[in-house]
């Protein structure tokens, strides 16, 4: 299982824990991630709202590089994933955009690189039976609210990933690890990702209601697979608590971190210390479940 890996900008900064745990888990499960050489920003930030051609050309530059590698592209960040998928979709559907991209990149790209989210690789290529067999510890007794955000599953016609209203990929992984995945109502609610810095008030409102639902559902932690979601949910809890008088202390962990724990890795190897809200309860529970 070899893939071209597109880490995305946050992987080298705010989401180093995601990056780190992804690599650890991939190695343990025999997924060979070959980082795309010279990758650049996907445009998920301000770029994609500025100009349609720019919005497609930025991801296309990366896709074209991967095309040369003759591998499928694996992405972990939901925003990057969404941009890549949209670019492929736009380029395939509109010849004028493909032409525009050709002019911008000075090369042709036909939109054919297969873009896969790490979750897809885990569930489809590796498969739950293999994962289950590799587990050393379990999430038994841990109640997990799986949070997908909006970019991973939408628009359904473009990303074609899981059920846009009630996705189950993360839940299936959590269940396979022995944890209890909760049916809660905010799986695909928006966290305010794009407004993270410009309109913190909106973000506080949106993430506040997501955290509230997770608490009401009785979650021990929220599991995510996107660095934007993670930072919004994790980082803003202090502000929310200050502004609303609540006392949220909800760990927001990457699914790769949970998987890494169950595969037998220590919290240090998986970047747990980088979480703003410590996941001590998670670690304690997994530790208590012990080695098989």
């Amino acid at each position: 299982m070899r893939y071209a890996y597109y880490p995305g900008c946050s992987a080298e900064s705010t989401a180093r824990d995601m990056h780190q745990s992804t690599l650890v888990v991939a190695r343990a499960l025999g997924i060979e991630l070959q980082e795309a050489q010279g990758w650049t920003c996907c445009g998920a930030t301000a770029g994609h709202q500025t100009n349609r051609l720019l919005a497609v050309s930025l991801p296309a530059a990366n896709l074209a590089k991967v095309q040369d590698m003759k591998l499928d592209m694996v992405v972990n960040c939901a925003a990057c994933y969404n941009r890549m998928k949209v670019a492929n979709h736009e380029i395939s559907a509109h010849s004028e955009i493909r032409q525009g991209v050709r002019d911008a990149l000075d090369r042709d790209y036909d939109g054919s690189v297969k873009v896969r989210h790490l979750l897809e690789v885990l569930l489809e290529d590796v498969g739950l039976p293999t994962i289950t067999k590799s587990l050393k510890r379990s999430l038994h007794g841990l109640k997990v609210a799986c949070y997908y955000g909006c970019l991973l599953v939408r628009p359904p016609g473009v990303v074609k990933f899981d059920d846009p209203e009630n996705p189950k990929s993360l839940d299936r992984l959590v269940t396979a690890m022995g944890g209890q995945s909760l049916d809660w109502p905010c799986k695909v609610e928006c966290c305010g990702g794009g407004l993270s810095l410009s309109r913190t008030d909106v973000v506080i409102n949106l993430t506040g209601s997501i955290l509230d639902m997770a608490v009401q559902a009785g979650a021990d932690c929220i599991a995510v697979s996107c660095p934007m979601c993670q930072s919004n949910l994790d980082l803003r809890q202090q502000d929310i608590n200050k502004q609303t008088g609540k006392n949220y202390r909800m760990p927001v962990v990457y699914i790769t971190q949970l998987l890494g724990l169950c595969l037998g890795f220590g919290p240090g190897e998986l970047g747990f210390e980088k979480l703003m809200v410590p996941a001590a309860n998670v670690l304690k529970k997994v530790e208590a479940n012990g080695h098989e």
Partner: protein, 1502 residues
């Protein structure tokens, strides 16, 4: 007969038994055609049977539809084919051959009496589709309580995975269900049908079934083996306790054919069992001193106690099987002898020899072999074991050997095998038990040589590197350098079994690799009449495999001996797997694990052979059986079969096809509900408190799963805050349904209103896009709902429902009236699901070659709305376009008219009319009563002591015969009643049973067949009104039943024969109004072969049709109009009267006289039926400067200008204003057509000039059905739709140019539009003066808006309450061309039910006036809803029998008591009351006194 194909066939096939199919069938059957009513479901009734109430009438849907269903069932000329569908059609219009597939009901329709005893014993609970899975139903059930036909049916899916996986095909689901019901003996009997070794397999079967169990995919598979053991143990315990005795010993008949069986192991025993049951003389030749084979001499007793084995062998022996022990083939008897002396031989000798290791040292003293070791261990002389025993092998025998050796005293037992632990062929639980007993297993070693000198000292082993090769074949490889040694005093080799070579020599059938060669299906060997099975044919296998082989051989041997072919139609061919889509869904299964029975502790096991595993406790077994998911639906447990006293149940029924000869086909398959789970954002299927509108109907229904309680499914609490979300699956391109489903707005409104009656403090919110209340009187209904404080209409469709964790309340985000985001929480949310084509539509269309539209509905033309693309095949109802009940009924009648027109020449050619014997004259006879009291199975007899009732009434005066019957309505009972009438010269019959509503006609019919007048019958309702309601107090109920029967007896004495009259029918139709509807109706009647008088006020035919120039679909309506006028004028049967005024109408159904003034000429036309089609016109207005500015015009004027190309295209800005003069206080109704008309004209303007700005100011856009597409097109073309509210209507001013100003609730600021033209949609209104005059003459009512009022808004949309007069067109209510055409044809079909008869029967149950007593107050004339009473020439009231419906209102109201209703006369009731209150005095006084016969018994007119 070459022209046979041209002959018209007077029969029609109607596909779909909903209200449309029922109406079409009734119209056709009542006008001289044979009807096959074909319905896919188990009962007719369709969607209406699911509904609670109807809008806007508030009727109980079931109450109004049931009588129609019953009427269908009773009609001699309607044959109802349920569970059937039309699959093919050959031939041509007028002469088709229709292929109908009939699915099995598994209940004989002709035998089932609907008593429900089967359903009470059925153990299977499955989701009830009728209740949309809100509750469960039994495997055998009626579709719904009032189902027609009133019979039961069984649901099957196929055969469950457990049964199919079982080699012997034991009905697992069946016996598990019986155990659930504590019917343990029945469970064992069911097991033994396929496996006579029930108790044995309950212990040692490897249970392959459990690996297939669907429950195992949710949590744990059902513990099937343990349940089997539990049931079998109950049998043995009962025997031991003396509560049960073994069956009688049987001996085969002397002439029975003989079968020899070689070997009494499981295969031989099974074959012996089956063949003995089939009546053959079976002898089993067994080499050992007792039967059982490996069961006795291989399986150690700690797994299978000998007493269990003996028990089951004894049961087989008692069936007449002879056992010859110690008889070895070739030694004690030769195979040839058997062949000669027996008709057939079954070889099931087993594999009784151990395989050898073939390594050095195997012959050293102390090396034993497994099979022989076990055989000895099972005999009295136990083999000696040494201290350290080593067993070689990893299979079940090896494990048995090891554990036996331990029990025989070995100090240390070890095992060695090639396989790794997970590869070992022994059953996992056996390996577990072995390890638990401290037996060490050395995995992955193979023997190199056995060590020892004179006696064994140990074994040298080599490492086994692989057991199976890449092809998974047994092909071990070794590492010869990796060696080890284990010390042992005794080595037992248990590496496999083989058939005794000597036996193979003696039995000279062909063999292969040491086994007898036998056909895998039949068991037949190379020698005719010799069969083989079990281990000796297949090689070593499990006990259940052997049983299966025995079954197969027995089936073959029976066939062989009876001279039938061996293959073809064998049992296993009857099995079919459940299609994967129908397997139970697992996501809702509540997780529960399987039980683990107790075991003897390992320390207690060691020195004895006590059974290790205990059985389940009863509590465990019942809980375990209840976990079964009933994959196959019906479990075929046969409880119903044994319970049904009518022997109506037949599990072997199969699907079949029939071919019907019909002249025409009408398709009325209805619709399917949109699958709400496709709109994931609403969480249907995910959130338990989100239901569909149809589920909500079932919730509201008193006969539904919650008996009318509106509850939350999550916690059963009453739902108080309820929201409806409209347009789920309608008007939605994301799911491909761009059309409007037409009914949902009204349905939600009705549901909110009805829920208000069910839920105190209801808070209802309806989220909608437009409220489409476009039907007759709908808008008034909607306004009433809107005026309620607790019903909120919110014009916003939420994008998502969120379920709050914990409370499971539902939160909805929406835009409020200020376009601000709002949140609201609800207890329950109802999704108003739209209509989709029925699931069967695509397949049917393909096989009948019928075109469908883009959405999969039947494609029709707006000018031919009832015709499919296939001539002779007509369509009606929702399958053509979403619509509500009245339009569905209308289209159904219209389609019936189409068929009548096609088949006019064949009318009355295939109908049956029953003839009866001459009525016996009872005039001068004393009453001689026969009383029949019905048990109704246990429905009555379970509560009421029926026999006591008979005893207590049999000495009542005039009672000649009193008896009781199981089902009085059963065919045999009815014949018996007829016999009794003749035998005892009975002249009055009383039946005490269910209800006259369903059964009176049947018993009356029986009287007529026996030559008695049907009115000499009386029914005492001791079921619905006694046993059912008083089931808790049987004794009092019995007393009440006695009273009821006595009252009926009293009344029966007073019954007299009545005879209805007949009246001649003038077979001419009269149509009033010559517009589209009138012309269409006249043509329909004329084409059916009736003469028609068509009366028109104006000087030309066509009416307002002349104002319509184009429709969405048709450019040239003028051509259609002139073509239609031409057809009417040229038709020889139609006589048109233009400029004719109606001056008077007299007469009644069958003969109306209509007086006309045509200019100066006065004339009269007569006919048997009248159709009113007087139409309506565009309303006038003076609003919005109409008439003051020439730039303000109506839509009709605009359309004319557009058509004449005189539209000046005066400018760029056109403003259309909707609802001008409609939906206001003066005209509270919606004119239905104006929204579409505006859209049509707007699109036309846009087509002329795409840059023109067209603004449509509307209140609700009501482009219902497929017209919604044009609304969408208009928006796409840039037409701007702006909403206004009636509180703030638009203003039009003209100061140097038209300006329209308005304040829209959807826009923040007021608007002012400079308009070049203002176009007004003014709606439709009737000519009130004209309608008043005509309605007075016809004596039919008008509503407040001046439209005619039909007999019943839902189910009689074109009838008047006055018989013989029918209604269609705009005179009924505003509607489109296609709707008028359908309705006109409907009126023609309804009129044909009168005109097709030469004479009509007049009911005998009519009122009459005693002229002496009449005081001429004419109260009767005032109160009669049917205009039957009139003032006669003497100034007295008199009743026109032809019009009387026998309702009795006049009799009740008459202040002089001058009116009596035949059959319900005062004294007939008084005697009942006297009987009830007064007692014996009355009884004695009345005794044997024949009642006085009234003066008149002949009613009606000749």
């Amino acid at each position: 007969m070459s022209n046979n194909g041209d002959k018209k066939i007077g029969a029609v096939l109607v596909q779909g038994g909903g209200i449309a199919g029922v109406q079409a069938a009734l119209d056709l059957a009542n006008s001289g055609f044979k009807v096959y009513l074909v319905e896919r479901d188990a009962a007719i009734g369709g969607m209406m049977a699911h509904l609670d109430k109807t809008f806007p009438t508030g009727d109980c849907a079931t109450c109004i539809v049931s009588p129609k269903l019953v009427e269908c069932a009773r009609n001699l000329n309607i044959e109802i084919l349920t569970l059937s569908e039309l699959t093919d059609l050959y031939g041509k219009p007028g002469n088709f051959k229709a292929t109908v597939r009939r699915y099995p009901r598994y209940v004989d329709e002709s035998k089932c009496t609907g008593c429900s005893e089967c359903t009470q014993v059925c153990p299977v609970d499955i989701p009830d589709e009728f209740n949309r899975c809100l509750g469960t139903r039994k495997g055998i059930a009626k579709l719904y309580a009032q189902a027609t036909p009133n019979i039961f049916g069984i649901l099957k899916n196929g055969h469950s995975p457990c049964k199919l996986k079982c080699p012997a095909k034991v009905n697992v689901q069946g016996y598990v269900q019986l155990i659930k019901q504590k019917e343990y003996l029945k469970a064992v009997a069911l097991i033994r049908q396929r496996n006579p070794l029930s108790a044995i397999c309950g212990r040692i079967c490897p249970h392959p079934c459990e690996s297939e169990c669907m429950r195992g995919k949710a949590d744990d598979p059902i513990a099937i083996r343990l349940l089997k053991r539990f049931a079998s143990d109950q049998e043995m315990e009962m025997l031991a306790a003396g509560k049960l005795t073994l069956p009688e010993e049987k001996t085969p008949a002397p002439a029975a054919k003989k079968v020899a069986i070689i070997g009494g192991g499981p295969a031989g025993l099974t074959a012996a069992n089956d063949l003995a049951e089939a009546g053959f003389a079976v002898t089993v030749f067994e080499a050992m001193p007792a039967a059982g084979g490996m069961l006795r001499y291989g399986i150690p007793e700690y797994r299978l106690p000998k007493k269990v084995l003996d028990h089951e062998i004894e049961i087989i022996r008692r069936k007449g099987v002879k056992f010859v022990y110690n008889c070895r083939i070739g030694r004690d008897v030769t195979f040839q002898t058997l062949q000669k002396d027996y008709g057939a031989v079954f070889v099931s000798a087993g594999a009784q020899k151990s395989r050898k290791l073939r390594v050095d040292g195997e012959d050293i003293n102390g090396v034993l072999h497994g099979i022989e070791f076990l055989r000895e261990a099972a005999s009295a002389k136990k083999p000696a074991v040494k201290e350290r025993v080593l067993v070689i092998g990893g299979g079940n025998v090896a494990v048995d050997v090891a554990r036996t050796a331990l029990r025989l005293g070995a100090k240390q037992v070890e095992m060695v095998c090639l396989e790794q632990r997970h590869e070992m062929p022994a059953y996992p639980e056996e390996i577990e038990a072995t390890l638990a007993e401290n037996i060490k297993i050395h995995n992955g070693w193979g023997p190199k040589r056995i060590l020892g000198n004179g006696s064994v000292t140990g074994i040298e082993l080599k490492r086994c590197t692989r057991v199976f090769d890449d092809q998974k074949r047994f092909n071990p490889a070794y590492d010869e350098n990796d060696l080890t040694t284990i010390e042992a005093d005794q080595i037992i080799v248990a590496i496999g079994q083989a058939v005794d070579e000597k036996l193979v020599e003696h039995i000279y059938v062909q063999n292969e690799r040491g086994c007898f060669k036998a056909d895998p299906v039949t068991g037949q060997t190379s020698i005719a009449g010799v069969f083989a099975g079990g281990d000796s044919a297949s090689g070593p296998a499990s006990v259940i495999d052997a049983v299966a082989a025995g079954k197969r051989a027995a089936e073959s041997i029976e066939r062989y001996l009876l001279g039938r072919e061996l293959l073809g139609g064998r049992f296993e061919e009857s099995l079919r797997p459940i299609p994967p889509a129908f397997l139970p869904t697992l996501d809702k299964v509540e997780k529960k694990s399987r039980p683990h029975p107790e075991e003897l502790a390992p320390v207690v096991r060691l020195n004895n052979f006590d059974e290790v595993e205990k059985g389940l406790t009863e509590e465990q077994a019942l809980a375990e059986a209840a976990r079964c998911l009933n994959c196959a639906l019906c479990s075929e447990c046969n409880r119903c079969v044994e319970t049904c006293k009518q022997h109506a149940i037949d599990h072997a029924m199969r699907e079949r096809t029939v071919t019907l000869e019909v002249g025409a086909v009408i398709l009325t398959p209805g619709f399917a509900e949109f699958d709400a789970s496709r709109k994931g954002e609403f969480g249907y299927g995910r959130y338990s408190n989100v239901v569909t509108s149809v589920q909500f109907e079932r919730m509201l229904s008193a006969a539904g799963p919650f008996e009318g309680h509106v509850i939350r499914l999550s916690d059963g609490r009453e739902a108080r805050r309820i929201a409806w979300i409209q347009c789920v699956g309608s008007r939605d391109s994301t799911c491909g349904n761009e059309y409007c489903s037409s009914i949902c707005c009204m349905m939600a409104t009705k549901q909110a209103l009805v829920a208000g009656d069910h839920v105190e403090g209801l808070d209802a919110t309806i989220f909608y896009m437009d409220i489409r209340a476009h039907g007759k009187d709908f808008d008034q209904y909607y306004e009433r709902a809107r005026a309620k404080e607790n019903i909120h209409y919110v014009k916003s469709i939420p994008s998502r429902i969120v379920q709050l964790p914990g409370s499971k309340d539902l939160r909805v985000a929406y835009l409020d009236e200020n376009s601000k985001l709002a949140h609201k929480e609800f207890d329950l949310i109802v999704l108003s699901v739209g209509m989709e084509p029925p699931h069967s539509m695509a397949g049917m269309a393909a096989s009948l070659d019928i075109k469908l539209n883009e959405f999969g509905f039947c494609a029709t033309d707006r000018l031919q709305p009832l015709c499919t693309s296939q001539p002779g095949v007509f369509v009606g109802g929702a399958a053509q376009e979403p619509k509500d009940i009245p339009e569905t009924v209308t289209q159904a009648s219209g389609a019936a008219s189409m068929a009548m027109e096609l088949l006019a020449s064949a009318r009355n050619s295939l109908v049956t009319k029953k003839s009866y014997p001459v009525e016996h004259d009872v005039t001068d006879e004393e009453p001689r009563l026969g009383v029949f009291v019905c048990h109704c199975g246990i429905n009555i007899a379970g509560t009421v002591d029926v026999e006591q009732v008979v005893r207590r009434i049999e000495h009542e005066p005039n009672v000649v015969l009193a008896t009781h019957t199981m089902f009085t309505c059963a065919d045999t009972s009815l014949s018996n009643i007829k016999d009794m009438i003749h035998q005892h010269r009975l002249n009055r019959i009383v039946v005490a049973s269910c209800t006259p509503r369903t059964h009176e006609p049947l018993f009356r019919e029986t009287l007529r067949e026996a030559g008695l007048n049907p009115y000499l019958f009386e029914l005492a309702n001791i079921r619905d009104q006694c046993s059912w309601v008083h089931s808790a107090v049987p004794e009092t109920a019995t007393e009440k039943a006695i009273e009821l029967v006595k009252m009926s007896i009293a009344r029966a004495r007073k019954l007299w024969p009545l005879e209805g009259g007949t009246l001649a029918v003038d077979q001419t139709g009269i149509v009033i109004g010559g517009g589209l509807s009138g012309m269409t109706a006249a043509l329909a009647l004329a084409k059916q072969g009736f003469d028609v008088h068509l009366i028109e006020q104006a000087n030309r035919l066509g009416g307002t049709l002349h104002d319509i120039h184009r429709t969405f679909e048709h450019e040239n309506i003028a051509a259609f109009t002139s073509g239609l006028i031409d057809q009417v004028q040229k038709h020889p049967r139609i006589k048109s009267y233009l400029e004719a005024e109606i001056t008077g109408i007299k007469g009644h159904i069958g003969k109306f006289h209509v007086a006309l003034a045509q200019g100066s000429k006065n004339l009269e036309v007569t006919g048997g039926a009248i159709i009113v089609a007087t139409g309506a016109q565009a309303a006038k207005t003076t609003e919005y400067l109409y008439g003051k500015s020439d730039r303000v015009l109506t839509q009709v004027e605009l359309e004319k200008q557009l058509h004449d190309q005189t539209w000046p295209a005066q400018g760029q800005n056109i403003v259309m204003i909707q609802c001008v003069g409609s939906r206001n206080e003066k005209h509270p109704y919606c004119s239905r057509i104006c929204c579409s008309m505006a859209v049509k004209n707007a699109l036309a303007i846009k087509k002329l000039d795409p840059t023109a700005n067209v603004y449509v100011l509307y209140r609700d856009v009501r482009t219902y059905g497929f017209r919604e597409i044009y609304y969408q097109q208009a928006r796409e073309a840039g037409v701007v739709f702006i909403r206004y509210t009636p509180e703030v209507p638009p203003q039009v001013t003209d100061n140097n140019g038209l300006v329209v100003t308005l304040k829209s609730p959807d826009l923040p600021e007021p608007l002012a539009i400079e308009a070049d033209n203002v176009v007004l949609s003014t709606g439709v209104e009737v000519d009130l003066k004209n309608n008043k005059q005509l309605s007075d003459m016809l004596k039919v009512p008008l509503n407040a808006d001046g439209f005619y009022v039909e007999a019943h808004m839902k189910l009689r949309p074109v009838d008047f309450t006055t018989e013989g007069i029918f209604l269609c067109g705009l005179a009924h209510s505003p509607k489109f061309i296609d709707e008028n055409i359908a309705q006109a044809r409907a009126a023609a079909a309804r009129a044909a039910t009168v005109l097709s008869k030469t004479q009509l029967d007049v009911s005998a149950q009519v009122a009459y006036v005693d002229q002496q007593k009449c005081i001429s107050c004419m109260t009767c004339v005032t109160v009669c809803p049917y205009s039957a009473p009139y003032c006669n020439k003497d100034g007295k009231g008199q009743i026109e029998a032809a019009k009387c419906m026998g309702c009795g209102i006049c009799a009740a109201e008459c202040p002089a008591r001058a009116i009596q209703l035949h059959h319900f006369e005062t004294d007939q009731f008084m005697v009942m009351i006297k009987q009830l209150f007064a007692s014996e005095n009355v009884e004695n006084g009345e005794k044997k006194v024949a009642a006085q016969r009234p003066d008149k018994i002949l009613t009606g007119k000749a």
